[in-house]
């Protein structure tokens, strides 16, 4: 049963050997040349399964992988019962929101300590499971990287996700994320990464930070 037709992949809820599982299928994209399309799909399938595994080693909950099929670009993984952070965040009280954001920051910190870059940190890719823990999904755009730049971009994307979906609380949420992040990675590394975020922002188009004033 198709439960989500995303841009990059379709997510099916299936019964697999008596278990409820998620099948993530990366569909061929007709708009791309087949050479480009096949390269991207198989590369992302491999990378996603590797990163889902690495994240667990870093102490971040991700779905279990049951099967990977490179011919069809398919991953069969555990179905996480829960709700997307995107759906709950705006309805939360300030304290709840800050607590959740703080936890998210710690988890991103754990990933970055192991040089795991998620690549698409949005609140739709974080699931609050039944026991109240956050499970990270969709590592399709992730990578392993020691670069400060990748970590900075990763957090910058998180900030941008807050700004586009939770714009009313973007500032406080991102601040709490950075606090959690700092707690996890330590002040020294956090300083470097946060410094890089503002550098990345200044590089962007028509960014008010360049003018030395605070962005609304």
């Amino acid at each position: 049963m198709l439960i989500k037709k995303g841009a990059e992949a379709s997510i099916f809820l299936e019964d697999w050997q008596g278990q409820k599982v998620i099948m993530k299928h990366r569909l061929p994209k007709k708009y791309r040349l087949p050479q480009i399309d096949e390269r991207i799909r198989s590369y992302r399938t491999i990378r996603e399964s590797q990163l889902l595994h690495c994240a667990k080693e870093a102490g971040v909950a991700t779905p279990m992988i049951y099967s990977v099929d490179l011919v069809d670009s398919n991953i069969i993984m555990e179905f996480i019962e829960g709700i997307q952070v995107k759906q709950v965040l705006n309805g939360y009280s300030t304290e709840e929101r800050q607590h959740l954001s703080n936890c998210i920051g710690k988890l991103i910190g754990s990933l970055h300590l192991h040089d795991i870059i998620h690549g698409d940190l949005t609140t739709s890719n974080m699931i609050l499971n039944e026991s109240g823990n956050i499970v990270f999904v969709d590592f399709g755009l992730g990578e392993i990287s020691v670069e400060l730049e990748s970590k900075g971009v990763d957090l910058h994307l998180m900030k941008r996700a807050f700004q586009s979906i939770h714009f009313r609380y973007a500032e406080e949420c991102f601040k709490a994320v950075l606090e959690g992040y700092t707690k996890m990675v330590g002040v020294e590394m956090a300083k470097k990464v946060i410094g890089r975020i503002s550098e990345i922002e200044r590089r962007g188009r028509y960014v008010s930070e360049r003018k030395g004033r605070v962005q609304r």
């Binding site: 037709k5 995303g6 841009a7 990059e8 994209k29 007709k30 708009y31 791309r32 040349l33 050479q35 480009i36 991207i40 690549g119 698409d120 940190l121 949005t122 739709s124 755009l141 971009v153 994307l157 941008r160 996700a161 700004q163 586009s164 714009f167 990345i200 590089r203 962007g204 188009r205 028509y206 960014v207 008010s208 360049r210 003018k211 609304r216």
Partner: protein, 340 residues
């Protein structure tokens, strides 16, 4: 011929980069005139001061031509709008000076318009779309945007240079020249049609954002290695870059669940990009329109139309506060005229 007093008309001046454009629109959205003059550099890219000099030299002529085309007199103008930003300082200031002079001489209100908002609004006017995802790709911008809660929000954008800029620099590195009515992008497009071999280039999609600076460096490096035909390189650059654009647009569509897709900006004139987006839009059952060239490139009509929308909400600015805003982000603009 003096118009009857009931017809309200806005004059819009666009001067953010290499184009000086004047548009005349009535308040119903009818385009009475849309006249343009483009600065073509002899070598290299757009030098802001040179472009501004071109604008200053041509402003009078273009404004007169607009009045002639529309068959109206300056006294028929109700409001003057100008592109207040974002863009190149000297160009913006030249356009703003012309607008202030007109507004002050005619004693009519002045409206400052955000260039990016104007691209979206004119696109909506000419296509009839009401709430689209807009992909705006030009020499200065690469943005995926949609309206949400009072403003146009940016869902994806370039983290460094715009795609049009990237294509232009690559083309100049390859020794290609811009001609009247034939921008560098079109030259690249024609060469790409003769390309056959796909050369490996970095595909850098970061979430919903894009990066083209490393992509450009890689392209230029391949060019300098002299191992590949220029046609093949142009072909590969287009295929990879447009795949990236289509992917982030698709992500924004899936994310926002909007049902209209609008393509605008200079790079939007590229047929291959148009086709890719069409295929993607059809797969998602999304209505898709490409803004016609005269309204997709920088033009005065879009400034006039957005000026009308803002004027109706009383968003006029006193001349003494009409500073240009070089880095005015799309997200900073309140758009009360859009129904959320």
């Amino acid at each position: 011929m003096k118009r009857c007093n009931s017809t309200k008309i806005c004059l819009g001046i666009e001067a953010t980069a290499d184009d000086f454009g004047v548009g005349l629109l009535d308040f119903e959205g009818k385009v009475l005139a849309n006249v343009n003059s483009t600065f073509i550099p002899e070598t290299g890219g757009i030098h802001p001061r040179e472009a501004a000099r071109h604008h200053a030299k041509n402003a009078g002529r273009i404004i007169s031509k607009a009045f002639q085309t529309a068959k109206i007199e300056p006294q028929d103008i109700t409001v003057v709008a100008f592109s207040q930003g974002p863009g190149l300082g000297p160009c913006l200031r030249t356009g703003a000076t012309a607008a202030r002079a007109l507004a002050s001489y005619l004693n009519v209100p002045l409206v400052g318009v955000n260039h990016c908002v104007a691209h979206i609004e004119i696109g909506k006017l000419v296509t009839g779309f009401t709430d689209p995802i807009t992909l705006y790709v030009s020499g200065g911008n690469t943005i995926v945007t949609a309206f949400d809660a009072g403003r146009y929000r940016i869902f994806g954008e370039t983290l460094d240079i715009a795609l049009g800029n990237c294509l232009d620099v690559f083309a100049r590195e390859a020794g290609l020249r811009q001609q009247e009515g034939m921008p560098l992008g079109a030259v690249v497009e024609n060469l790409a049609k003769k390309g056959e071999v796909l050369v490996d280039l970095p595909y850098s999609v970061k979430g919903m954002d894009l990066s083209f600076s490393g992509f450009l460096t890689a392209g230029v490096r391949l060019l300098r290695s002299k191992k590949y035909r220029l046609e093949d390189l142009c072909f590969s650059i287009q295929e990879v870059a447009f795949s990236m654009l289509t992917e982030v647009t698709e992500r924004a569509l899936a994310h926002t669940e909007k049902i209209e897709l609008l393509l605008t900006g200079g790079v939007g004139a590229n047929k291959r990009l148009q086709t890719m987006l069409k295929i993607m839009a059809d797969e998602h059952d999304v209505r898709y329109c490409v803004v016609p060239k005269q309204y997709a490139l920088d033009n005065g009509a879009m400034i006039a139309w957005t000026g009308i929308l803002a004027y109706k909400y009383g968003l006029i600015i006193p001349i003494e506060n009409s500073y240009v805003r070089l880095k005015w982000r799309l997200e900073e603009v309140d758009a009360p005229w859009v129904k959320g």
